[in-house]
Amino acid sequence: MARVKASRSCETAELVSAYLDGQLLPGELDTVVAHLGECADCIEEFHRLKEIRAALRTLPFLEMPERLLPDTHLGEQLSAYLDGQLDTSEHDFVISHLDFCTDCRLELHELDSARTAIRSLPGLEPPEFLTVHQERIKRERWTRRRVVAAGVGIAAAAAFAFGILGPTNESGDLDITPLFDQHQARVSVDAGFNVIPAFAPAGDSP
């Protein structure tokens, strides 16, 4: 195993990595550069650290497993985007997503084609038989409504008339007293005449 006999005694040794990374604080650069010019150990350390830093940075940057990626395809947002129906934040999100998502760009293109095709269809008149049929249905409905309305009117008029002429008391309840009086009147007439009762009592039949 290789040994680093680095400048353990040098106070500036620890700055060598920061120097390599361009992360020195203001004022430290001059110190480090001046020190490297005169310290062989730190020069050696500098080269070793540079080597390992380079090696670390050659590590492959691995792909993240696809299953970890969220399913963020735009879906119905694409149609809303085409129709200008997104609010500002959604619109920005769609734009940024389309920057990197080939699938969504393709889908957008297809939706746009379909939308254009649909919108280019000519406006058609309905067939004549359909128009005639519709007219007939309209007429029948109109007639039915007139009959019902007339019936309702007659019923309402009858109810009204009954309400005016009919036997009601002040409270609006049905008053049967006049009927009772008429019955009394008939009884009083019976006294002098032979009146055939409307209903023969049971057991009185000859």
Binding site: L49, F61, M64
Partner: protein
């Protein structure tokens, strides 16, 4: 990513997912643990985005990532010592020359196994710097330590790595 706009969870997954995965993989040496960490981080990000105050998003995200990693380590109570899994080989198999492929795989294996021998404090600083590409200041924010500590850990971590690696470059 711009600090002034809070990214969505999907943005984080797309933009940072791969970096988080590589960070986790280099720290654990295990693709399954790395994938678990990505999922855990994304879950925490999703929960935390509501209360996130626009500022240094990277610092916030990497702090979450590091905490999730440390929680995982505490939970498992084991140090990751798995050998280099297939992933590296798969990625490198696209290199043109078989000799180069072999050399690269060996190099990656050597570095990965050396990384796993570093103390965790040093390992995370080296990985955040050399694999993820954060600045010292961003690392300091992520690990909630002063920049001086970060600088020292990166330097000492690299020195240890160099001692552990036997290959001449």
């Amino acid at each position: 990513m711009a600090d002034e706009r809070t990214p969505t969870w999907e943005d984080v997954a797309r933009v940072y997912g791969r970096k988080i995965y590589n960070f986790a993989y280099r720290l654990t040496g295990n693709p399954d643990d790395a994938a678990d960490l990505v999922q855990e981080v994304l879950l925490r990000v999703r929960k935390g985005l509501g209360s996130y105050t626009p500022g240094s998003f990277d610092g916030w995200l990497w702090r979450i990532t590091r905490n999730a990693f440390l929680d995982g380590v505490r939970k498992q109570k084991r140090r990751p010592t798995s050998p280099l899994p297939e992933d590296d080989r798969n990625v490198l198999a696209t290199s043109p020359s078989p000799d180069e492929v072999l050399a690269s795989v060996r190099l990656s294996e050597d570095i990965q196994s050396a990384l796993l021998k570093l103390p965790l404090d040093f390992r995370e600083c080296v990985v955040l710097c050399d694999v993820v590409g954060l600045t010292y200041e961003e690392i300091a924010e992520a690990i909630e330590s002063p920049v001086g500590t970060v600088r020292s850990r990166i330097h000492r971590g690299r020195k240890m790595l160099r001692e552990l690696l036997t290959w001449p470059v």
